[in-house]
Amino acid sequence: MSEVMDIKYAAAATFDSAKDLYDAAGKVREKGYKNWECFSPIPVHGLDAQMGYPRSKVPRFTLAGGFTGFFTGMLIVWFMNEFDYPLIVGGKPYFSPIYPFPVFYELTILFAAFGTLFGMFFLNRLPQHNHPVFEHPDFGRTGDDQYMIVIEVEDPLFDDEETLSFLESVGGESVQIIREPID
């Protein structure tokens, strides 16, 4: 029987242009929905603000990575050339913040880069290969030329009829419920 076969995940509506999506998104936010998301083939400018998203937190990871890198570098060089086995090389000092600077510098960048990428993954909860939204029949087109708004069932304001009609009212097409099969 169907109702045990799958569970409701969310209501979805598609749009044809960035503008439509943009405007609709504004309305959805004003309506006060919380658990909802826009899908678009490109990063639509200003959509974050429109959806009421704060600034991304990726930079914090980058900064952390950078600092780690720099001081790891310094620690390595100091430990190896000054502390553990000091050797007289070209009459130069055992340790100096100057001569090995390229090492600190490169490690800073390396770790910062890792911080950035994995920070992004972490904030986007990636990798996550399985997601209910993929169940939408032509979700694929959101990568191509279609836009979509999805309001999840978890949202306190969610109500089948009302949400669906609301989505239609903001100009959504092929409004429908996304169902997630249980396997």
């Binding site: 998301e37 678009s40 998203y53 553990d84 070209g90 920070g119 939204v133």
Partner: protein
């Protein structure tokens, strides 16, 4: 985020909204998103063309030269190369610097132009990033295998060992280890991250199962969700911001291999900027060499427009002239510095035992690019392609001149010598072009040649405020 009313937002957005590209559209014949998607994915999804197979097999054969060369080298000794005393480096390091230099254009296009909000970069950055990664891989071969006991090369890494002895961090070669490995890693990260959304598109379009899973795996479950885009864009911007100083530092450090040494003709402060300029120069040369055929082969004229070619030519022209200026300045300083050894080193470059290589360098690097002043030539694609080849040749010879003229005639006339490569040198280097081509062909076949989302976002449809 607090309550902000519509109107204010629009003002804010107007401010952050970059100035739209007025004069020339970046995608010709106002194509639709669908067209772009089909075009780019089509290259990967369509049946493998025969010409691809021919190229691929040829490239494999050529690549095998490197393989054989290296096996012989490691089993027999560095002596199989032409190196000697006083010229202890020779081709290996020349090739290393050459390939590393090639790489730089990719990072530059994807990072620096991104920071400069140069929208025209979008259709060429993916390919040039690929070029970067592959060039760095080719470059890596040489410093690794030019050492006498390659099986101990791991000593260059700071690993604890039973001998309780560590690397020596004053050495530019040690800096290279960090610079090059960092450069390779970050380039790959940057390249891969940019591809995630496109992988997702390919995943969603895929019909064969293996494609579903292959692209699915690398797409990491990307969902085109705005939340994703938000962090993605920020990360992209940051990586661009990190790559820019990186790309500058890498060739600076490579130039330190020479500049930190005390030899006449090497020990000069002009090297870092001059090497970086040269790197970008050769890089763009290579980008042109690669993309013009690709553009023709896959009919991408609407995406890689004359506008793109013009821009690349102009950058080549600019950097070429920069390099030319550096050559002149070296001579001036050598004369002005009044150090007889330094003075001789440069006179010897131009008129000494390697004069021919010097003049090949000058004509390819300084004179050749000047042709790009003329629109006619810029619009003559075959000619542009040929010139780009000359640029590559010239830049290889620049490194040859720097490395060899100085070493072959340095301080004590008694130890002057002459270096000439052996057949093993030549084949090993030649083979790396095959290796590079193999990788690039695979890239063309299996990965999205252009960042679709970025191309789309510079098309008029991307603007959420344009009323239509």
């Amino acid at each position: 985020m607090s309550e902000v009313n519509q109107a204010e937002q629009h003002d804010i957005l107007k401010k952050v909204d970059p100035a739209p590209w007025k004069d020339v559209p970046l995608v010709l014949n106002n194509r639709s998103y669908k067209w772009v998607t089909d075009k780019i994915c089509g290259i990967v999804e369509s049946k493998t063309p025969t010409w691809w197979w021919w190229c691929f097999i040829t490239a494999l054969c050529i690549a095998s030269f490197t393989g054989m060369g290296l096996v012989y080298l490691v089993s027999t000794g560095v002596g199989v190369w032409g190196n000697n005393n006083p010229v202890n480096w020779g081709w290996a390091i020349v090739n290393f610097v050459f390939w590393i230099g090639i790489g730089h254009a990719g990072t530059l296009i994807s990072a620096v132009l991104c920071l400069l909000k140069q929208k025209w970069r979008t259709s060429i950055n993916r390919a040039s990033e690929a070029m970067t990664v592959f060039a760095v891989l080719c470059a890596g071969i040489f410093p690794l295998f030019h050492v006498g006991r390659v099986w101990f090369a791991w000593w260059l890494f700071p690993l604890p060992n039973a001998n309780a002895i560590w690397p020596q961090f004053r050495s530019p070669l040690e800096w290279d280890v960090f610079a090059v490995s960092t450069y390779a890693t970050v380039s790959i990260l940057f390249w891969y991250m940019g591809m995630i959304p496109d992988m997702a598109v390919l995943r969603d379009r895929a019909t064969q199962t293996w494609r579903k899973y292959f692209y699915g795996f690398f797409a990491m479950g990307w969902r085109n969700a705005n939340n994703h885009w938000r962090n993605f864009e920020m990360a992209y911007l940051l990586l661009a911001g990190l790559s820019t100083p990186l790309v500058l530092s890498v060739h600076t450090i490579v130039s330190f291999d020479f500049a930190v040494a005390n030899l006449p003709g090497w020990h000069t402060t002009i090297f870092p900027p001059y090497f970086v300029a040269g790197a970008i120069f050769s890089g763009f040369g290579m980008v042109l060499t690669l993309l013009l055929p690709v553009r023709a082969a896959f009919g991408l004229r609407d995406l890689i427009t004359q506008k793109h070619i013009d821009n690349m030519c102009m950058i080549t022209l600019a950097t070429g002239s920069l390099v030319g200026y550096a050559y002149a300045m070296e001579f001036f300083i050598a004369w002005y510095g009044a150090n007889s050894y330094e003075g001789f080193a440069f006179i010897n470059r131009a008129f000494g035992n390697y004069w021919w290589s010097y003049w090949i360098m000058i004509s390819c690097n300084v004179i050749c690019p000047q042709l790009f002043w003329f629109k006619k030539i810029r619009e003559n694609t075959p000619l542009v392609w040929i010139i780009s080849i000359f640029v590559n040749v010239g830049m290889w010879f620049e490194r040859f001149v720097i490395a060899n003229t100085t070493l072959s005639r340095d301080f004590l006339p008694s130890s002057w010598g002459y270096y000439s490569p052996t057949v093993v040198d030549i084949f090993t280097f030649f083979g790396t072009f095959g290796f590079f081509s193999v990788l690039f062909l695979l890239f063309l076949r299996f990965l999205p040649l252009m960042p679709m989302c970025e191309v789309k976002s510079v098309m008029p449809q991307a603007n959420p405020h344009a009323d239509h």
